[in-house]
């Protein structure tokens, strides 16, 4: 029997920082994000990838009954759609209307919060789930963490949140010779009570799931498309849909999970490489050979009662760089310092109760900020450089530390204001001030984004 194919595409754009200077700190409310650059990058990627790729996908899901796909759209990407690309958002809505497209859940801010704060993590997932419900009228059932960061504990947290599936990297050292094409489950164990309580309080879905299944990325076949497709020195070049399908069927198992950045289509691999023609041909070839492309939920449903394997992951893994660990974001001192500094503000920011400050603080949690600070120049550094909008990791840190410095001052000022308010029992004027502030913020574009993601590099 031919395996299923599970196609999932990651869609994300961070809010890149502008060239902040010391003179901006403590001066009113500087915008930390480079609206112009973020808009420019968003529009460029929209024209090259999102719009043409969505058009093609729409055509394909309508034409081929057995062709279904899944997306994970980060919340900051959706924010940028609302700022710079209603047309892009609309094309995703059209895809949603076909009923053949599944949307996954992730942290709204594409953050590393799963590493730092369960409460913050759950809040961001909940916000993302709500946003997907509002925009696309469906409730995500499967969770994908930022950059496929994963370990056993996270699977159970996702289960408590209500998800029945979770996406992870199929790492060789954990598979130990097994195929990533099988269905996996995490080892059974009970989470610490404090974590259970925290998740229960903020659970994104209505009830916890009994079981959770893991879909593992088949990184070889995924990367053949995402990274090697246009590599003329690659033995598989040029890659045709027929050949690729031979490889798929040859790799056996229940489901071949092809997970990749959506920007693969038209942005990482330009249209003139033939990537769209390749994509267009796939469902036709699959139909001829009786291969069905299912969404992650359908895949789990189809195989739920089959034999499952245990995927036992004690240390964090991810899909980034050849290390497939956290070193893309936590590999050096400045990265760790920046992450620690932003999460150290959690309590103070939340105490202000100021939605604008909360939103800015959360946008500063986007993993890309730390990715740009990576100094792994001797191995994967070239990939980091390619994806960075800044001159250097140190420039990334300079901008980021200025933003944090200013945010700290604003949070402290807001805390002072709150104290004054509570001191004076009736405080209509203070409240007025805050709401005016928020309004101002809503009226100007908060930031710009760009897209550059941590892209896994295949080995």
């Amino acid at each position: 029997m031919a395996p299923l194919v599970t196609f999932y595409f990651q869609v994300h754009q961070p809010y890149r920082l502008r060239d902040l200077r010391i003179s901006d700190i403590g001066q009113g409310e500087p915008d930390y994000f480079d609206a112009e650059k973020n808009r420019a990058i968003f529009r460029k990627v929209a024209e090259k990838c999102y719009l043409p790729a969505n058009r093609l996908m729409l055509e394909l899901v309508q034409q081929y009954p057995e062709f279904q796909i899944a997306y994970s759209l980060s919340g900051v990407f959706l924010d940028q759609c609302r700022e710079y690309g209603e047309d892009v958002l609309e094309s995703f809505r059209q895809l949603a209307h076909t009923g053949k497209v599944e949307f996954l859940a992730e942290t709204y801010y594409h953050s590393l919060s799963s590493l730092k704060s369960v409460e913050e993590f759950a809040l961001q997932v909940r916000k993302h789930v709500q946003t997907i419900q509002e925009l696309f009228g469906q409730t995500p059932q499967v969770f994908r963490n930022t950059e496929l960061i994963y370990r056993n504990e996270l699977a159970h947290i996702a289960r408590l949140m209500g998800f029945r599936g979770i996406i992870a990297e199929g790492a060789d050292h954990l598979l130990r010779g097994r195929s990533p094409n099988d269905l996996f489950v995490p080892p059974q164990f009970r989470l610490p009570r404090s974590i259970e309580t925290a998740v229960r309080k903020i659970r994104p879905l209505s009830r916890r799931a009994q079981d959770i299944h893991i879909l593992l990325k088949n990184y070889r076949l995924s990367d053949d498309v995402a990274f090697r497709f246009s590599d003329k020195s690659w033995v598989g070049f040029p890659l045709h849909a027929d050949t690729f399908t031979d490889w798929l069927t040859g790799s056996g198992g229940h489901t071949v999970n092809l997970f990749m950045d959506y920007e693969t289509f038209g942005e990482h691999q330009w249209a003139d490489t033939g990537i769209f023609d390749f994509l267009r041909a796939l469902p036709r070839v699959w139909q001829e050979r009786g291969i069905k492309a299912a969404t992650p939920s359908q895949t789990i449903e189809a195989w739920e009662h089959e034999h499952t394997h245990e995927y036992d992951v004690h240390s964090f893994i991810s899909w980034a760089d050849s290390e497939r660990d956290l070193s893309a974001w936590q590999g050096n001192r400045i990265q760790s310092a920046a992450i620690d500094a932003v999460y150290a503000l959690e309590r103070q920011v939340k105490e202000t109760g100021n939605p604008l400050l909360l939103d800015i603080w959360r946008r500063l949690q986007t993993s890309d900020h730390f990715y740009y600070m990576s100094t792994k120049y001797w191995s994967d550094g070239d990939v980091h450089k390619y994806f960075s909008p800044y001159d250097s990791p140190y420039e990334a840190y300079r901008r980021y530390s200025h933003a944090l410095c200013d945010l700290k001052q604003r949070v402290a000022a807001a805390a002072d204001a709150t104290e004054e308010r509570t001191a004076v029992s009736s405080q209509p004027s203070a409240r007025l001030k805050v709401s005016r502030l928020q309004k101002q913020h809503l009226h100007k574009p908060a930031a710009d984004h760009s897209k550059l993601k941590a892209s896994p590099r295949k080995s």
Binding site: I22, N332, R333, I334, A337, T375, Y397, R398
Partner: protein, 403 residues
């Protein structure tokens, strides 16, 4: 090999680079005969047991008054004020052009009995000597370019000097440039074809007698943050920009000290300017510094700034890094090409330079990482490694010479 300065008698990076290359070549089994213009260079004094060099090398010294960074005006001044025996001064004359001619003629004469495989010369003062020697011996000519007239003069070259440079470059069988930055300049301003130029970055050898913190503070325990400029006070090194940056930093961090180490024609002007800008309490001019004092300064500095207008390489940045000091370098420099762990800023961007300094001073993790990571480059850029590449160039020339 024709050089024109060699430690301990040297004014700038050229002498250091020349010494590094010679020592590196010796380690790579290349025999070197070095021809120098000054009479009292004692390079052997500087050689320690770790550099068991000199048995293979003989140095032929040609006395000269030439100063590598002379232009005609400073040369005349020096001749006039120098307490030279009359005959020596008359031997070289008062005219720079004439002096170069005499140096050239003598140098070739001195090398008549040396049977070299390759003739290698460093910067314009030695080019004519190199051309003649290469012709005389019928050997390939390598011209090494450490700095061009365009770098020294903010792109207002003395045409006579630029002409000498151009001729040396044209006559060469192979040109060695100290950076891609310089290579591009040779292509765009001298019309040299790209294929003839090889980039060979300068190297750095860690001194073996490195003293760790000796003199850190001269005024009490609480030291003010210290920002260092070290270089000749000339237009090329852009010291005025350093003052502007100091002024900008002081707005946000009033207690920062700025040390300007080095001598040069702009020094009196810079002192006046610093006072006019109200920086007299923040800026210290040390004048020319040597040996231990240089190291003490590098070690004491919280940040080293090289704001050069146009810097073919910039060895001082590597020296600062060797002393675990974070560096900010001009983007218009060769060393920027090899540094991963440093800030690189356009030479004119005062605000950004100041901002980088402030960030380094404020953010301890940043400073710590720059200190820890930047020195990696020094291992890759040892003079032995760089000289090994030079040796390959020689071998290639010897085997493929069309002569």
């Amino acid at each position: 090999m024709f050089g024109w300065e060699y430690p301990p008698k040297h004014l700038g990076g050229l002498g250091v680079a020349c010494q590094g290359l010679v020592r590196g070549l010796l380690k790579n089994g290349v025999r070197v005969t070095l021809v120098l213009p000054h009479s009292n260079a004692q390079p052997e004094e500087n050689m320690h047991v770790v550099f068991p060099t000199d048995e293979m090398r003989e140095s032929v010294l040609v006395p000269s008054l030439l100063n590598p960074y002379d232009d005609e005006w400073t040369y005349e001044q020096r001749i006039l004020t120098h307490s030279l025996p009359k005959e020596e001064s008359s031997l070289y004359g008062h005219d720079l052009g004439q002096a170069v001619e005499q140096f050239t003629a003598l140098s070739v004469e001195m090398t008549k009995n040396i049977h070299a495989d390759v003739v290698h010369c460093h910067d314009w003062m030695t080019y004519e000597a190199g051309i003649r020697a290469a012709k005389h011996h019928d050997k390939p000519l390598v011209t090494h370019i450490h700095a061009t007239e365009f770098d020294r003069t903010d792109f207002h070259p003395n045409e006579w000097i630029a002409g000498k440079e151009r001729r040396g470059l044209q006559m060469a069988d192979r040109i060695v440039a100290v950076s891609a930055y310089t290579k591009n300049l040779l292509v765009s301003h001298y019309g040299i074809s790209v294929g003839k130029i090889t980039v060979l970055h300068n190297g750095h050898d860690q001194p073996h007698d490195m003293v760790k913190p000796a003199i850190l503070s001269q005024h009490g325990k609480k030291r003010h943050p210290l920002i260092l400029f070290l270089g000749r006070m000339t237009v090329q090194k852009n010291p005025l920009q350093f003052l502007e940056v100091a002024k900008r930093v002081r707005v946000f961090m009033p207690d920062v000290e700025f040390v300007m180490a080095g001598d040069g024609p702009m020094l009196p002007f810079l002192i006046d300017r610093a006072c006019e800008m109200g920086l007299q309490d923040n800026v210290i001019f040390t004048g020319k510094v040597h040996g231990r004092d240089v190291r003490a300064l590098y070690q004491a500095a919280d940040c080293f700034v090289m704001p050069s207008l146009s810097e073919p390489f910039g060895l001082v940045a590597l020296e600062a890094i060797a002393h675990d000091t974070p560096v900010i370098v001009s983007k218009q420099s060769g060393v920027a090409e090899v540094l991963d762990h440093a800030f690189k800023v356009d030479y004119w961007d005062t605000d950004k330079m100041a901002d980088c300094i402030i960030t380094i001073l404020r953010e301890e993790p940043l400073s710590a990482q720059l200190k820890a990571e930047a020195p990696r480059i020094l291992r890759r850029l040892s003079w032995k490694n760089q000289a090994h590449k030079l040796r390959s160039i020689y071998t290639d020339l010897i085997h493929h010479s069309t002569r």
